[in-house]
């Protein structure tokens, strides 16, 4: 092996949704500071396989901070100690030789554990299905430049749309609230002229679905935004509140 860091890991292990889980302790030597956190887990898993033990299941895919798969609660923080990065972009140089690292799955009623560190985030998909779109069938579109959009609105919409749907906001929130996620999508579409036609109904339906999934409410602690790997702003939650309240009191849906 190539590195010189030794680490103690305390990792949540759970067989499936139904069974209770618990922590297991592992020791890892020869960790390189250039490894990503997930590569450190790869090494752990290879070690477990050699010992004839089952490797730790964890979600990961692109390993470049954009797919939103990875989801580990590391030493009490989603995606670990750095701001603005996902677990896959976290490198071991952010830790010290001899550290003990505790790794847990996202915890939320709406995100049941599937196995070990893998949780079920289908709730997010269902919230998007409820209204996180513009109803435009393929082929209906007019020329792209026939609709000028102020750069500022486009930039703000883009900042909201940068959400990767990882669920760190839910994990970080003391209420397991999904408001940052939902508000980012509502904001993106509310800021763009294309989104105006369904603006009211979108806010109403997405919030209703968010509540039905069992996410908590918002206490405005700002933990979500502080832990968001894409640094989505709390402004979006304020905007969602406006959109929702405005929609509820003015739309014709009774």
């Amino acid at each position: 092996m190539e590195g010189n860091m030794s680490l103690s890991l305390k990792v949540w292990r759970q067989s499936n949704k139904e069974t209770a889980g618990g922590f297991e302790n592992y020791k890892l030597d020869s960790v390189s500071p250039d490894m990503s956190f997930l590569e450190m887990f790869d090494v752990l898993n290879e070690q477990l396989i050699e010992e004839g033990k089952e490797p730790v299941a964890f979600d990961h895919d692109c390993r470049e901070g954009i797919c939103g798969s990875c989801s580990m609660y590391i030493n009490g923080r989603p995606h670990g100690p750095l701001r603005g990065v996902t677990v896959c972009q976290l490198h071991m140089r952010s830790f010290n030789d001899g550290d003990t690292i505790v790794v847990e799955p996202w915890r939320a009623q709406a995100f049941p554990v599937i196995k070990d560190l893998v949780v079920d985030r289908d709730a997010f998909d269902r919230v998007v299905s409820a209204g996180g779109f513009i109803s435009v069938n393929t082929g209906n579109a007019q020329d792209a430049n026939s609709l000028p959009i102020p750069k500022e609105a486009a930039d703000d919409a883009f900042s909201a749309a940068a959400c990767i749907g990882c669920g760190a906001c839910v994990a970080a929130c003391k209420n397991a609230s999904a408001m940052l996620f939902v508000s980012a999508k509502i904001s993106q579409l509310a800021l763009l002229p294309q989104g105006q036609a369904e603006r009211s109904i979108r806010a109403e339906k997405m919030v209703a679905q968010m509540d039905a999934e069992g996410f908590g409410a918002c206490t405005n602690t700002g933990a979500c935004s502080a832990e968001c790997p894409k640094e989505i702003s709390m402004e979006n939650i304020a905007r969602m509140n406006r959109e929702y309240i405005g929609a509820k009191f003015s739309s014709s849906a009774v």
Binding site: M179, T221, A238, R239
Partner: protein, 223 residues
């Protein structure tokens, strides 16, 4: 469910209620603190009693008092419901949590601070408001609230409880004031500065003013 109750029972609706009742209670605090501050005229309670009489007898104020009680009840009940729902949203907690890395402790403790305030509120109303209103109801006469204050605030434990209540209020307001605006959708780069400044100033000035009352009477600054 009608659209209205649906709105108010949604997660955002509950926050809306918290924000509206919170801001209403904040406005009540201004009146309450202003009138109570009349004791600092140190005129044997004359100015204070004058305004206390006005507040206790003016029909508009008496009507508003009912709204105030409703405001308190809604804020409390809604807060408890939110607390319960929010707890249910995470049935299994984290073994290790480093919350201070991403948020302030008092923003995460609004329920706890609110509960402390509720306990204080019970003690406080049992001291003044309940006896006074019961007496008014029974005899039509108001009690001498100023004298009652002087008497009650001779007990060091009571003074400490009141100061404790004011500290809870400070932390509760420090987050609650700004949070109410965020819940109402008021988050704008042009106004965030002023909301934050007024919120912090308010959270300091009002509880400080309140805390000075029992302290002043206990120490005999106000007679």
């Amino acid at each position: 469910m009608s659209w209205f109750s649906q709105t108010l029972t949604s997660s955002i609706g509950k926050k809306l209620l918290m924000a509206l009742t919170g801001l209403f209670l904040i406005s009540f605090l201004v009146i309450h603190a202003t009138i109570n501050a009349m004791i600092f005229y140190n005129d044997g309670g004359e100015t204070f009693t004058h305004w206390g009489h006005f507040m206790g007898t003016n029909p508009i104020i008496r009507t508003l008092e009912i709204v105030l009680v409703a405001g308190f009840l809604i804020h409390i009940a809604d807060g408890l419901i939110l607390w319960k729902n929010n707890r249910e949203a995470r049935p299994i907690g984290y073994a290790v949590n480093n919350r201070s890395a991403n948020s302030t402790w008092y923003s995460r403790s609004m329920g706890l601070l609110g509960t402390l305030l509720l306990i204080f509120l019970v003690i406080h109303t049992a001291h003044f408001w309940i006896p006074n209103r019961s007496n008014q109801f029974a005899t039509g006469e108001e009690l001498n609230l100023y004298q009652m204050m002087l008497d009650i605030f001779q007990n060091i434990w009571v003074v400490l409880i009141y100061v404790g209540g004011c500290i809870s209020l400070f932390w509760h307001l420090l987050h609650g004031f700004k949070s109410a605006f965020q819940s109402l959708g008021w988050n704008h780069v042009k106004y965030n500065g002023i909301i934050s400044f007024v919120g912090t100033a308010f959270s300091i000035v009002i509880p400080l003013l309140f805390a000075l009352m029992p302290i002043s009477m206990y120490l005999g600054w106000v007679k």
